[in-house]
Symmetry: C2
Subunit: 209 residues, 2 copies
DNA sequence: GTCTATAGATCGATAGAC
DNA sequence: GTCTATCGATCTATAGAC
């Protein structure tokens, strides 16, 4: 793997970048098994031998692509700083961001591919989980722990409560989307109503009395 | 497909049954793509030509297997009759059953396979959803609608509330299991605590005041 | 580094004998 | 119905020329 980390901007290895871009598209569209190196070569405009001069194997190329996509999710999630907003505002904000993120094409396709290959590439499952679901749950858990200490909310197990809140917001939407059920995606207005209902029920449920 | 529906008991076609059993094991273990008809034939103790005399194609065999497994989930779910139990009991019961079902090997492997092939076999996604997640959500939604009419709970959108309750119970457990995260499965005592916490928060949240 | 050409293996599906 | 044997297509990976 020459040139481990290139400069900030930099198109220093045009063919290598072309391979990465083509492989990303094909792996994300088709998954590991059905994707063929011939097709990657054709889309990248290089020969198959060139691919194998940059990457050891199909598995290595796949791993590089998917790991990159997983870590690319991290900034999307870390942007959600809850600070010391009132609980209703904080939950509404992060709930809405969470729902929008989970319904967007990129993370959805990435989750699909990682799931399909979690057996063959166990470390990818952990990388995905820690770059996505775990990170967002930790962000909310930190907020809930603070509100618990402040005496505002009754959340003695903040990480569990955080997961339960996100589970509430999501309901079965993600399952329907993953299964390809038609009309599975609620429009923005309905999404707002779902988040509002979840926030209301959750806050009622964990309010200090 | 000879002998559309056999008699009640009946091992009338031993080779056909051997094929179905072997194919079920291999498809559930490996998924559609990686599974090979040679391996099915070997495990079933027949030749490949015999398989093709009973089933038109690999796709047809796969569809028969998966559809059968999906509809086999139905009795497991319809057993959950909530009747007119008090809300805390009803939610505790169905929440615990739901969590145990989602964590068991059979449905977990089936969900994994259906997800992987939802692109190739769109109708399987719908069959799975309607035999499993939708059925269990409807069962709880019916109960919540009744309690709403009785003035016990404030659940004007019972189907949404049902999905939100199940999402709460599950948290990120299913995601971790599907991704192969080690130590993803809570033991029975922790499972009981998680359900208890979800029931408490949810009922507090939707209680009529 | 990059190409063309191909080795070597696997797989779905079928032909033809019994 | 069931078998053996095989076709034809596809795939990963590499050898060898430039």
């Amino acid at each position: 793997m020459p040139r481990g980390a290139a400069g900030a901007d930099a198109p220093p290895l045009p063919k290598r970048d072309a391979i990465l871009e083509a492989a990303a598209k094909i792996f994300m569209d088709q998954g590991f098994g059905p994707a063929s190196m011939d097709e990657v070569a054709r889309l990248a405009g290089v020969s198959k031998a060139t691919i194998y001069s940059h990457f050891d194997s199909k598995q290595a190329l796949f791993g590089a692509i998917i790991t990159g996509r997983c870590t690319a999710m991290i900034p999307l999630i870390e942007a959600a700083a809850l600070g010391d907003q009132p609980p209703a505002d904080a939950l509404r904000t992060i709930g809405r961001q969470f729902l929008d993120l989970l319904m967007s094409q990129g993370p959805l396709a990435l989750y699909r591919v990682v799931l399909s290959e979690a057996g063959r590439f166990p470390e990818l499952g952990r990388t995905f989980y820690e770059s996505g679901p775990s990170l967002v749950a930790n962000a909310l858990a930190d907020y809930l722990a603070r509100q618990h200490e402040l005496g505002v909310l009754e959340t003695p197990r903040p990480r569990v409560s955080a997961e339960q809140f996100f589970g509430m917001v999501l309901g079965q939407i993600h399952v329907r989307l993953m299964l390809g059920i038609s009309d599975a995606a609620p429009d923005p207005a309905e999404r707002a109503r779902l988040v509002e209902l979840a926030v209301g029920t959750f806050l009622n449920g964990v309010a200090r009395r």
